[in-house]
């Protein structure tokens, strides 16, 4: 009876595992096959990897897309960390009634769906395109700015700041550090793991973001990786081998982060709920 149950559990988990990783295996195997073999249902790895990679780099502007996505993700991550940690620190360490009210109002924005503010944001950036072309429609700056400050990360930093020892702040004051100096010299280095966790989530979100770049970036040379893949995926006669290669390349950065920093990643997820 007990053995039966065990076997059932292992079977169940094995099926779940196969379902979970099969699309990955198929993607990697298809990357090495010709398009026609993929449509014939070939599962085994082939010998056309080099050919697919070459075709991808020659016929599709994947390099500019990688560069655009890279710039957007890195800048977004830095700005997010800076702005959100300042706010999380301010709300928690310099707590006051007024700030708590502001904090609750900020939290309300977690319920605002992006689709609801997309049109006004588009009009906002459309309105400044003539006077400030660098921040207007079809610029990387416009793709970055509205995504930087989110209630999620402010909340995340505030939750984690609860564990930051106030004695350190007093010590800093006695040492004659300014309030700004305390933040920069004591808080930031102490909270390294919190920053790491937030950086992973911010980077992944930004790297994978689709809807806002789709709205705001219009010219082909501004395209990010998700836009490029969506475009390839909707073609009428898709070259499966090549598209799978593009998808693997697009997934590589987040997959590497996942494998090497899984602990921080999980810490980042959990940091938003504890407390």
């Amino acid at each position: 009876m007990k053995k039966c149950k065990r076997i059932f559990i292992y079977t169940f988990l094995s099926i779940a595992t196969i379902v979970s990783i099969f699309p990955f295996l198929w993607m990697i195997s298809s990357m090495t096959n010709q398009s026609v073999d993929v449509t014939r249902g070939r599962l085994l790895p082939g010998t056309h990897l080099f050919e697919n990679v070459k075709k991808l780099f020659e016929t599709v502007d994947i390099v500019p897309a990688l560069v655009n996505s890279g710039i957007i993700a890195v800048v977004t991550t830095f700005l997010t960390l800076f702005i959100a940690s300042l706010a999380g620190y301010g709300f928690e360490i310099h707590r006051s009634k007024g700030k708590d009210i502001v904090f609750n109002i900020v939290l309300l924005t977690m319920m605002i769906p992006f689709a609801a503010i997309m049109v006004p944001l588009y009009r906002l950036f459309g309105g400044i395109t003539d006077t400030m072309p660098f921040f207007g429609i079809d610029t990387l700056a416009a793709a970055i700015l509205p995504t930087v400050t989110t209630a999620f990360f402010i909340f995340f930093f505030r939750q984690n700041t609860k564990m930051f020892s106030r004695d350190l702040i007093e010590a800093g004051r006695i040492d004659g550090l300014s309030e700004w100096g305390i933040f920069l010299r004591i808080y930031v280095p102490t909270m390294k793991t919190t920053y790491a966790a937030a950086a992973i989530i911010a980077f992944m979100n930004s790297w994978n973001n689709y809807l806002w770049p789709l709205v705001i970036l219009q010219s082909p040379e501004k395209r990010t990786i998700p836009l490029l893949i969506s475009n390839l995926g909707s073609s009428y006669s898709p070259d499966y081998g090549m598209i799978m290669t593009a998808i693997v390349i697009a997934t590589l950065p987040t997959a590497l982060v996942f494998f090497f920093m899984q602990k921080h990643f999980v810490a980042g997820m959990m940091g938003s709920v504890k407390g």
Binding site: I9, L13, P23, G41, V106, A115, L124, I229
Partner: protein, 305 residues
Amino acid sequence: MGQQLINKEHITHKRSMKAFIRKHIGWLFIIVSVLAIGLFYFYPMIEAFLLSFQSGAGASLKYVGFDNWMRLFGDPSFLAALINTSIYLLVQVPVMIVLALIFSVLLNDPTLKFRGFFRTAIFLPCVTSLVAYSVIFKYLFGVDGIVNHFLLNVGAISESINFLADPIWAKIIIILAITWRWTGYNMIFYLSSLQNVDHSIYEAARIDGANAFQQFFQITIPLLKPIILFTSITSTIGTLQLFDEVMNITQGGPGNATLSISQYIYNLSFEYTPDFGYAATVSYVIVILIVFLSIIQFKVAGDKK
């Protein structure tokens, strides 16, 4: 003597200055965030509200009162999007949460072998971007996709099924895809909470004669209630905003069979002749739904306490 007095005054002045700075400097830390949230969330929400009373193509908008709001009731596309989104919500979120709970309970058993492997494998799908996995699912379930090949080979079907051209299958594929992507993600939340639970509680229950099901419903579920509430709210919000998957797997088709509300808003604003006013009206429906459902979920979870 006089000099000393001035010094004292100077010092107290300096002290009160310092106290003043210390009391109010917190605002400086949060000011950038507050301004950005105001500009990129509250201003657009107000603007969208005003837009919902305007109509016209592109930039030539004029006030039309409640026309947009009345239009909602007679708009078959909106109705389709609302029904589809409700189906996604009512089927996908419960299935995913139950699955995630089962996985987490099974994987929390310390005597289980290969726990780490199973955990990582089930968690893995969340490294993929929404667009990337959507395209993969589109190909997996294509007419000459691997799923059809498999079903043909095992003899389950005699000819390929065009999954994505069938209104019901297309919905099922979208639900399958989202479940594949997010079950492991939610499982990690439950697993992390379960790891904080003292195993002696379960031992005590076992001694009292509670079977596995009783342990699950009477210990595990109540302990995980806050986190289940958290994940159901985030999942609900996520599903109500569903866009990337529908856009990249079916583009809302066949017909409007898989159209989501977010995609309808996108189409109204950027695919068809832009009608920002009506798009804003539809977007307020999602806001209202999110607020309404979050309150209900809080109430349901709160009542049982």
